[in-house]
């Protein structure tokens, strides 16, 4: 088993490199799309809102595999020939952007309007208030959901082998078909995905801790390093009160 593992290591490594490249390219694209679509749906004028909502429902509603096939196999008929890698990144980024946008949109809506008012009262323009006051808070709040989506993306990146890309899963499949050792091969492939997810999760948790040390649990960083316990937080729950 160890011998077999050592034999297939270079081939799996090459596949893993492709998978990592896919992830590294499509995660930022997805987050960026998510922010743009969420902002358009929340603050845009009506046509922009409509466009953003349509994007979201199409990319969330069509199976990712079908999206990949459309991008890779049917776009060439319309003169747009994408490499397998580009098609996969586009598919993953656009699809995950649709999910990110929902997490970010709900976070944007969860920021009390009183924050916007405080920014207006200081003379900020709407765009400045959104960019400097609302969005930073919303991104922190959407970190949980978006982290979930990033973890999902790591796993569904395995669909890339269906558009002829030899990623980690693709490499595993080739090895298994050649050696007929399906169990060992996919066991190792599975463990590698598990490891990637574990590393990403703890990275996300560290980020969450870094951004908001008082609410996030410090695990897996050193326990008991949380900063002073917060004292009375009297953000009144009611906002925009008209009471005089």
């Amino acid at each position: 088993m160890i011998r077999f593992f050592l034999d297939i290591l270079p081939e799996l490594g090459a596949g893993l490199a492709v998978t990592l490249k896919l992830i590294v390219c499509s995660v930022p694209l997805g987050v960026l799309m998510g922010v743009i679509v969420a902002m358009s749906r929340t603050y845009g004028p009506r046509p922009v809102r409509f466009l953003a909502a349509s994007y979201q429902s199409v990319f969330r509603g069509v199976p990712l595999l079908v999206q990949l096939f459309i991008l890779y196999y049917t776009l060439p008929r319309f003169g747009l020939l994408l490499s397998p890698f580009a098609a996969a990144v586009a598919g993953f980024g656009l699809c995950s952007g649709a999910y990110h946008s929902e997490y970010i949109r709900s976070a944007l809506l969860s920021i009390p309007t009183s924050q916007m008012e405080a920014a207006y009262a200081l003379g900020m323009k709407k765009i400045t208030a959104i960019r400097r006051v609302i969005l930073p808070q919303a991104l922190r709040r959407s970190l949980g959901g978006c982290g979930n989506e990033i973890v999902s993306l790591i796993k569904y990146s395995s669909l890339a082998y269906l558009v002829t890309l030899v990623d980690l899963t693709g490499a595993g499949k080739q090895i298994a078909y050649r050696s007929f050792r399906f169990f060992e091969t996919f066991l190792i492939v599975g463990l590698i995905y598990l490891a990637m997810v574990a590393v990403t999760s703890s990275g996300l948790r560290a980020l969450e801790f870094h951004l908001d040390p008082e609410h996030a649990r410090p695990w897996p960083l050193a326990r008991g390093t949380a900063r002073p316990i917060r004292r009375s937080r009297k953000f009144a729950s009611k906002e925009g009160h008209i009471e005089s």
Partner: protein, 254 residues
Amino acid sequence: MSRDRQIEPLVRFEDVHKAFGSEEVLCGIDLELSPSETTCLVGPSGAGKSTLLRCVNLLEQPTSGSIFVDGIEVTAPHAPLDRIRSRIGMVFQDFRLFPHLTALQNCTLAPKTVLRLSKAEATRRARSMLARVRLESKAESHPSQLSGGQQQRVAIARALCMDPMLMLFDEPTSALDPELIGEVLSVISELAEARLTMLVVTHEMGFARRASNRILMLDHGRIVADSAPERFFADLDSDRVRRFLGRACSPINP
């Protein structure tokens, strides 16, 4: 100061009405605020005090009437709202600090983005304002690490960093424990002594009596009393004022 009367008022309300749906909250307010004066706005809950205050920087759009601030009609269709608001400091009942920023960053954000000050200049100004509210040691704390009174003082410093010509306070101590109220009121009193123009909605009658130059009482959307504090508290011929004071002067605010 004999020429006081000729000084252009800093804020002028002309027959301002405000209705939320069918409920009329302000029923024809005429009002002038002179520079360097502290005016307290008192009255029972629901009288329209906060609404009146929020009309000054157009957080609330009046239904009719005109409001002038420093000679500019803020109710005009294309009034430069951002510019006017940047010169009016506002302090809210519920503080409204930006929770993702430290006290210092709360104070530098608007000077940097609105006044386009350099980072060094904004920081210098913020530190001196935090010192003014006696919180220079909390510059690096986040709002959630501060007590209510400290948060409200940071909010005051944040407003002062814009070098406002007018400060609006919307029940600045109503969300605070009695023991924290004092620290906020003493900061506001110091601003009054420094002759900053202020309009303060408050239920703290003791503060109104000590720190203000003028007390306005609002009831059912109308100004029912407008006098200097000494006269206001002596004004027992006005039945309305007497009834209000009878209720408002609890043992903590004699």
